[in-house]
Amino acid sequence: MQNFLNYDRSEPQKRNVLKRLKDFNEIYEVFNKSKAQVQADRCVQCGDPYCLNACPLSNFIPQWLKKTSGKDIDFAFKISNDTSPFPEIMGRVCPQDRLCEGDCTLNDGYGAITIGSIETFISEEGFKKGLKPKFSTKLTDKRVAVIGSGPASLSAATFLLRSGINVDMFEKDDRAGGLLTYGIPGFKLEKDVVKRRVDWLVEAGMNLHVNSDVGKDVLLEDLVSKYDAIFLGIGATKWNKARIENEDAKNSYSAMELLKDVQKGIFSDSYEKKIDVKGKNVVVIGGGDTAMDCVRTSIREGALSVTCAYRRDEENMPGSKKEFVNATEEGAEFSFNSSPKRIITDEDGSVTGVEFLQTVMTEPDESGRSSVKIIDGSEFIVQTDILIMALGFSPLNPEFLAKNSVKTDSRGKIEVNEAFQTSNEKIYAGGDCHRGAHLVVTAALEGREAAMAISKKLLR
């Protein structure tokens, strides 16, 4: 260990841009054994492990790095899967540069440990060796209904099954995975990877009910009476609007509409896509990871040009730097400091362009934050055929919540106590529906903690 002076940080190989644009497969290759070992060997094994401290899941990162360095994949697999419901997914999609790697001691001038890539490596290598996540071999008579199949729900199901609790999962779509399946494009997370986890859960005894929309196909109140507990992982699917003129114009879509549409197209040849960007100019508004996903998806779908417009500057983009770089490599253009003012449409109400105002960032205030200032009279227009709005999501706050006395706050977020229990003591909730749109890792955490609380209560 502590070999950081002898070896530099090295990220996994990316596939050639020209090749990777031809498909929706992941762009990063998984580390090979020797590289993973060398990279893990750089770890300082700090007395104050900042990575672990920054990780919402409190993953035992230094511990599995040490095992990886010591070539003990079995043990690394065990530790890595102990706290995380799906480490190989987190390794791919977690914004490590803002969490573990961002806080890594070595990030100050030496190059952080490639924690995410090693995390992925450990599980993939383990799978190759035939290792599988372990679940309780004996299920109890306790039954929990998990609503939704996104990261929070999958996490909750994982930990419930490990504790020996039966899980029935209800997903309104045709496939499980929620955001992992339809929200994150394949070039970041291949769908087989998600399916593999879902399959293991089913193998461990989970009943997966797809195309079961709670509130329509099944009623929550029925579930409440039939099950020992309910976990709501229904996410935040309402897309935020820019609240500008003509927002509902034709050819103006939300990010989710695009991403899901494309993914469905990939899943099935028979699916008829609603959005076709091929040969068209596309503007994506937003600066987060989702915006980046839309940009890169559009490029892969054959858009003529793709411009990402964001009201702050590059520095202040919330999305991960890595994704920005990838998008740039793939040919995206960026228009920073551009705040949308109105959408320009033609006579039949289709988008033809967007009028923006230029902005500047103010000097950082006491707390170090800069805000956006609009420059008066700086209007400019960007022509486009298709407009994608990637401005974040909010919880949907479906009616069945109130019906089952599950309280929500003014923004529609489900209120829970420290055990992730809602105002209905039988119902637990976690993930975006509680927190608002957030990271996969926080959803995974909340699913895990809720599951722990449920099993503590049920198995007392």
Binding site: Q2, G47, D48, P49, F60, K66, D103, K134, S163
Partner: protein
């Protein structure tokens, strides 16, 4: 025992005897003079006149006694005794008479002893008893025959009768000896006892003693000598020895006393007396019961034998046999003893106290701590010598014959056929094992992970502790400090052994070096009954033995077989039974039931070996804490009077490291079978597919590592053998209830009376449930992750957890106060984690405006950075800290390791210069560049241990500062080799005050129960400031078990020291500082209220400099360039002066705000105001008794003197300085001064050297600008810190510490007559010398040239451990050396003249090699030696060197060149910069 008024004592001592047993008054006069001349080894009370006690044990002055009796009308018969008694009132005399009568003795006269109270100080007078003499004769013929025995019996009965009386004490009651002693200074003893001035008061021998006690509340009865001994030193193993005497008492049978009388003699040891008094009690008891004088002496203070292959085999047999009956009373000791016929003196096994003797032409033997205590003309001295480690010298008064060590040994070893007895009866378990560590069936458990969870063997423990042990056979090393809560405050699972903090030696006794001085250490343990130790017979040889207390399966099986009636090997004396220590519920009662069943088994079924076994642990049964079981069983067996019959073996999963092992041993187990560490290791190695041989090797490593760890823990307390450590209870217990401690750990100190059996049981319930009952399928990892050593979220709390560090970094790098507030808020709201968190502040005043509070600049003056050496931290860090501290008017501390001279006088100079045990770079100019000289006695991270700077960290810069060559490993020994006791510390303080009279001398101690006592002693040794460090102090590298388990929180030590100083009226003469994890203003205010006037910051300062608490200092991988010498890493250093200034500004302002809110204007006013603290209102807090922290004594709470002036004003050297001043002003005025010197003139040369350094730096003056030609015997520390330009010639002799820290100049010691075999100087010469030359035509004492790094020295013989830890310089020894030569020697060279060709056996071969120099290859070395010899002859006219030179061709063949093995190039002339 009350911590505040308890004491420890050290002293000057000796004896004087007429070899032919001729009484004379001159003998008495000489003895008193000798005693007077060692005044500086004693201490004086605050009244300036009361000594700590001195006294004389004299042969009965027959003539005098007969005269005074006759004057009272009593003509004494042939046989009479005189008792000296201290009584409270006259009425007690009647009881004395009655008891005498009962014992067939007649009191013929009582005499009030004439005294002159004007000779006493005020304190002594206040507590003076009535001093009487009782004249006794036998009352019958029978009594005549056993007169002495009856006297002893009478005295013991009287002592028991008056045990609750305050003053009652019998200094002596004997027909052979009489004691005159009291709380009087030696200079006044004759004045106080006019008897001693009577010309007919004639004696033939005298033991004399001058006491230095750490407290100022001495009592008359504490003065020495006792009835048969005078002791200089400290018995480290005293608790064990006392316990073991009680154990031995069970089986006493005597030829001298009837069983009924024996009963009346009990207890053997008087309660409430000092360690020395207990030793005296037991020695006297043995003698009184007919044990041979020499055998008794050598049984209690044996020479080392276990690991000393050079010792004669028959002598080893004697000691091995004796060890079955007696354990060493271990610790530094020079003891003079007598039984009236024999008189002798004995030195401890490690030679930690001085004992020097002369034999004169008028048949006198004088032994004393120093040479020259009598002005005996040189020509009258026939022999001048010293006792070496473990040696004894005796005198048979009956035949007028001196018995040297060899005579005594020959006598002892041939007295009985010990070797035969042992050969036939003593069995080593190993004898019955074919291949060790091969059988692992005991280590397989189907529920291993449950057991691991129960016993808290976490993933971290496996990875960080067990795996390294298995791999390397060594305890793992870590760095930084322990920032976790005490076990009692923790809210996560902790081991029950965590509640025990290891004790360590500081000041009054030295720790020892278990690695370099392995020769004195041993872990032998035995099984079998302790029989009647008074009797010598083959019975005692019947023992089962093991060389280690850590058993493995094979030894376990052998041990079991010996006690199993169904096995052919069965012997009834080892009959065993296994007792399960598991329970279902009700811990307290279950424990009692278990104990009852054990006692019953011992008494009724003849069980002799008790196995306490927790393996029955399962989902139903929980294991009692093994340490409770062991402690309770041990106490209960003793209470039942059957402890001597039983050996105890703990079979437990709780033990997996050295600390936990030591805890069980400390409370009485003979051996431990730690099955869980083996089981964990076997599991760990399972997948590695090791060969049987490899597996065996790995398992053996476990035993090796734990053994080494136990040795280290013992050595911290200065104990060298396991048998002396066993039952020693050398732990502070923190946070258990007094109920538990009284039942199980009676002999340990309890701090923070807290959790009782029910609380412990609650914890056990919780752990058990978690381990066995809760299902953990959601966990893939079957054990807990840990978090005790390194931070883990939701694990154990760490005071420097990542968020604290991040907040601190953002605060100091931005200088924004709100960032500090965020940091402060996080720290102050951490909950009840550390001791201080349990207190809130309740002021007695209204808040005031902050403008009225003293300025931050005033507060800055109280801040100091903690000692961190250049070496442990990078030059950038070291300099930035110094600059920042200087900028705000605070102080920085150089740490141990020197400082670049270019920094002296600049803003990068550290005001505090540290003097630590390695003495690296301690030169006259270094000392002179400081305003504060800090003696580091102990370090919070690893009190009682030394350190090591590995060669790869010794860069050219560091090497030059430390006077060595790059790449040489530098070892700091555990003790200061010039501080083995309090009077030694006083001597070092004196040395330092000579060399730099303007500096304050501070002494750094570590918090532990009893630190108050030590602090009082340090104040009496004239320190100006005392630092109480917390256990959380950091380190660049230390074993994890030391970081975690030794030392207490500073809060506990600080208030104890503060109150003890007050109780002893010493608080005003010394100021207090504390350090240990201080972070915010609130910490400062609380520390002040607990008694601190100033505040040290170590880890905090490093954190400000960028440290992220990575704990990799020891790996040289510090990513922020703080704790490393690596150039690439150092480029990442972000520390700046501003960051530190920001930090201290925040804290000072924080303090000001708190002060304002409390209504106080300055810190001074809240120092010691613990009445402003209040225990927080919290249910958990209510469990603990914080009374000791809130205890308040009357009196001044702050230091009120400028400096703590030594009693010795050093007039001699001051007058010399005046004379030589012209030469200092202008070195052209060369001077030669002729003068007489005596042992009272101490540290000669230091003051003048300091004065020269002030103006000229270490360059000093041109060679021999000032030359002293002195005659006589110089006092201690001759030529300490000597500088270039000074030459000191002595015709006569010198005492200990000649050339200590010498940097230049020359010291030459020659006896008047070289034809006699004279020892010319004492112990520990050239300690830490960095240059200069020393020539002595005679032999010198122990530890010659210890840690020398530059001096050239030629002597003609040395004691043991010569050239220990040497890192440079050249030494020539033209005579015999003692054993363990060159231990830890990593640099420098030595030439040894070895005519007997046995030197190599006495060499410690670990690091050095000896080569012949009569080869062509060694041409250079050979002629370098020749040049040195010529120089020696020129300086000293050495006859020996002259003769060697004359016969150089032949004699060169008898020389060895000794050099470190890994030194490639020999720096032949370090003096010339090679």
């Amino acid at each position: 025992m009350d911590l505040l008024t308890s004491f420890r004592d050290n002293c000057g001592f000796g004896l004087l005897a007429s070899i032919k047993n001729v009484p004379s008054h001159k003998n008495l006069e000489d003895a008193v003079i000798a005693l007077e001349r060692m005044m500086h080894r004693g201490a004086i009370a605050a009244d300036g006149k009361s000594g700590d006690g001195s006294g004389l044990l004299l042969s009965m002055p027959d003539k005098f006694m007969r005269r005074v009796a006759l004057e009272k009308g009593v003509e004494l018969s042939d046989m009479f005794a005189v008792g000296m008694v201290f009584i409270d009132n006259e009425a007690q005399i009647e009881t004395i008479k009655e008891v005498c009568e009962k014992n067939d003795l007649k009191v013929v006269l009582t005499r009030e002893v004439p005294t002159e109270v004007s000779a006493l100080g005020e304190f002594a007078l206040k507590v003076i008893p009535i001093i009487m003499q009782i004249f006794i004769t036998p009352n019958s013929l029978l009594a005549t025959k056993r007169f002495e025995s009856l006297l002893y019996l009478t005295r013991k009965e009287l002592e028991e009768h008056f045990k609750s009386s305050d003053k009652f004490y019998i200094p002596s009651l004997s027909s052979r000896v009489i004691a005159y002693k009291g709380l009087v200074m030696p200079t006044h003893i004759k004045e106080f006892y006019p008897d001693l001035q009577e010309r007919d008061f004639e004696i033939s021998f005298c033991l004399f003693h001058q006491r230095f006690s750490t407290n100022t509340l001495p009592q008359w009865k504490l003065a020495q000598p006792f009835r048969s001994i005078a002791h200089n030193g400290e018995i480290n193993s005293i608790e064990a020895n006392r316990f073991n005497v009680d154990v031995k008492t069970e089986s006493f049978e005597s030829d001298v006393f009837t069983p009924e009388e024996l009963d009346r003699l009990l207890p053997v040891l008087q309660k409430g007396s000092s360690d020395s008094a207990s030793l005296d009690n037991f020695f006297e008891f043995l003698i009184a019961n007919g044990v041979d004088f020499f055998r008794a002496a050598r049984s209690l203070i044996p020479a080392p034998w276990q690991n000393s292959p050079h010792v004669d085999s028959k002598l080893r047999a004697f000691y091995e046999y004796t060890s079955a009956c007696y354990e060493a009373w271990d610790g530094p000791a020079a003891v003079s003893l007598t039984d009236g016929r024999y008189i002798g003196c004995i030195l401890d096994r490690n030679g930690l106290r001085p004992a020097k003797y002369i034999i004169t032409s008028d048949d006198k033997l004088l032994i004393s701590s120093e040479y020259g205590v009598l002005d005996t003309p040189e020509e009258e001295i026939i022999e001048r010598g010293r006792l070496q480690s473990g040696q004894m010298i005796g005198l048979d008064l009956k035949f007028g014959k001196i018995l040297k060590d060899e005579d005594i040994n020959n006598y002892l070893k041939n007295a009985h056929p010990y070797d035969k007895w042992l050969n036939e009866n003593m069995v080593y378990l190993q004898e019955h094992i074919d291949t060790t560590f091969m059988n692992t069936s005991d280590y397989e458990f189907c529920d291993l992970s449950k057991r691991q969870r129960y016993f808290n063997i976490t993933h971290e423990v496996i990875e960080e502790i067990i795996e390294p042990i298995v791999k390397d056979g060594k305890e793992p090393v870590g760095s930084m400090g322990d920032d976790t809560p005490l076990a009692c405050f923790s809210d996560v699972q902790r081991n029950f052994t965590d509640f025990f903090k290891q004790k360590f030696a500081q000041v009054t006794n030295p720790p020892i070096d278990p690695y370099r001085e392995k020769v004195v250490m041993s872990l032998n343990t035995g099984f079998g009954e302790v029989k009647n130790v008074i009797e010598t017979s083959v019975e005692h040889a019947k023992r089962l033995k093991s060389v280690s207390p850590i058993l493995m399966q094979e030894k376990m099986e052998v041990l079991l077989a010996f006690g199993d009636p169904s096995k052919p090997r069965y012997r009834k004396q080892y009959k065993n039974r296994t007792f399960s220590t598991t329970f279902e519920s009700d811990l307290e009662n279950s424990l009692e039931k278990l104990v009852e069943s054990i006692i019953k088994a011992v008494k009724e079924d003849g069980v002799r070996v008790v196995f306490l076994d927790d393996r029955a642990l399962n989902d139903k049964y929980k294991a009692m804490p093994m340490v409770f079981v062991v402690g309770r069983v041990n106490e209960a067996l003793l209470e039942a009077g059957v402890r001597s019959l039983v050996s105890i073996v703990a079979v437990t999963g709780e033990i997996f490291d050295a600390h936990s092992s030591a805890v069980l041993l400390g409370y009485g187990v003979n051996a431990i079978y730690p099955y869980m560490i083996y089981a964990t290791a076997v599991k760990l190695l399972e997948n590695k597919k090791l060969s049987r041989y490899a597996l065996r090797y790995r398992l053996k490593n476990i035993q090796k590592a734990i053994n080494a760890g136990i040795l280290k823990i013992m050595s911290k307390m200065g104990i060298s053998t396991l048998s002396s450590y066993k039952n020693s209870a050398l732990f502070d217990v923190i946070g258990f209830s007094s109920n538990i401690v009284n039942k199980c750990f009676k002999n340990s100190h309890l701090l923070l009376d807290g959790l009782d059996f029910c609380d412990v049981e609650e914890k056990i319930e919780k752990y058990h449930k978690k381990a066995f009952l809760e299902s953990h399928p959601h966990r893939l990892l079957k054990v807990d992750i840990g978090g005790f050593y390194n931070y883990v979220k939701n694990g154990e709390y760490h005071a420097f957890e990542p968020n604290v560090i991040k907040d601190l970094h953002s605060a100091v790098s931005s200088s924004k106060v709100q960032n500090y507030l965020k940091f402060k808020e996080r720290v102050n709201s951490r909950g009840l984690r550390l001791v201080r968190d349990f207190f809130e502040i309740k002021s007695d005043r209204e808040a005031i405006s902050i403008d009225k509070v003293e300025s931050k600049e005033e507060i800055f003056k109280r801040f100091a950075s903690a000692a961190m050496s250049l070496g442990s931290i990078s030059p950038e860090t070291h300099e930035t800290i110094a600059e920042a501290m200087n900028k705000i008017g605070a102080s920085s501390n150089s740490g141990e390791g020197g400082e670049d001279k270019a920094r002296y006088g600049t803003n990068k100079n550290s005001k505090i210069k540290q003097i630590a045990s390695g003495r690296f770079g301690v030169t006259p100019s270094y000392l002179r560049s400081a305003t504060e000289l800090q003696i580091k006695i102990a370090q919070g991270a690893k009190p009682g241990e030394g350190g090591q700077l590995p060669g790869h960290k010794v860069t050219p810069l560091i090497a030059s500062l430390r006077y060595t060559v790059p790449g040489v490993t530098l070892i700091s020994p555990p003790p200061h080799h010039d501080i083995y006791s309090i009077e030694d510390l006083a001597q070092l303080i004196f040395d330092l005050k000579q060399v730099n009279p303007d500096a304050k001398v501070t002494v750094k101690l570590v918090s532990t129960a009893g630190v108050g006592t030590i602090a009082a002693g340090v104040a009496k040794a004239y320190a100006d400031r005392i630092i109480i460090s917390g256990n959380d102090g950091g380190t660049g590298a230390a074993p994890l078990s030391s970081i975690k388990f030794a030392g207490n929180p500073w809060e506990l030590g600080l208030i104890e020291a503060h109150n003890a100083l007050k109780a002893n009226s010493l608080r005003e003469s010394v100021s207090l500082q504390t350090d240990g994890g201080l972070k915010t203003g609130l910490d400062i205010v609380k520390a002040a209220m607990l008694g601190a006037e100033s505040f040290g910051f170590g880890t905090g300062v490093l954190a400000v400099m960028g440290c992220k608490f990575l704990r990799v200092c020891h790996l040289n991988k510090c990513t922020v360039g703080v704790a490393t010498q690596d150039e690439v890493l150092r480029e990442h250093f972000v520390g700046t002066v501003d960051r530190l200034v920001n930090y201290f500004t925040f804290i000072a302002e924080d303090v000001r705000e708190i002060l304002a809110s409390l209504g106080y204007e300055n810190i001074e006013d809240i120092v010691g105001r613990n009445d402003l603290l209040k225990v927080v209102d919290d249910e958990f807090a209510k469990k603990f008794d914080f009374g000791s922290i809130l205890q308040r004594l009357d009196g001044k709470s702050t230091c009120s003197v400028e400096s703590n002036e030594p009693f010795d004003k050093s007039e001699f050297e001051k007058s010399m300085l005046k004379i030589v001043y012209p030469a200092i002003e202008d070195p052209k005025n060369k001077m030669v001064i002729d003068k007489e010197i005596c042992n009272l003139n101490r540290s000669f040369g230091a003051r003048i050297s300091g004065e020269i350094a002030k103006y000229y730096g270490d360059k000093g003056l041109p060679d021999s600008t000032i030359t002293f030609r002195l005659k006589g015997v110089a006092g201690q520390s001759l030529g300490a810190f000597l500088i270039n330009g000074l030459s000191i010639y002595i015709e006569g002799a010198a005492n200990d510490y000649v050339g200590k820290g010498m940097n230049g100049g020359k010291i030459v010691v020659t006896p008047r007559d070289q034809s006699r075999k004279f020892s010319c100087a004492g112990n520990t010469l050239l300690y830490g010398a960095t240059g200069g030359k020393l020539f002595i035509t005679g032999s010198v004492g122990e530890r010659f040239a210890v840690r020398n790094s530059g001096a050239l020295a030629i002597v003609e013989g040395t004691g043991d451990h010569a050239c220990e830890y040497m890192t440079g310089g050249t030494v020539v020894i033209l005579g015999r050396t003692g054993v363990n030569f060159g231990a830890g020697m990593t640099g420098g060279l030595a030439f040894i003249y070895d005519r007997e060709h046995d030197f190599v056996d006495r060499m410690n071969q670990e690091l050095i090699e000896a080569k012949r120099i009569d080869t062509n290859e060694a041409d250079e070395e050979r002629y370098y030696l020749k040049k040195l010899l010529i120089k020696h002859v020129q300086e000293t006219n050495s006859l020996k060197a002259d003769w060697i030179l004359e016969n150089f061709r032949e004699e060169v063949r008898n020389f060895w060149l000794v050099k470190p093995k890994d030194m490639m190039k020999i720096p032949l002339n370090p003096d010339e910069g090679d």
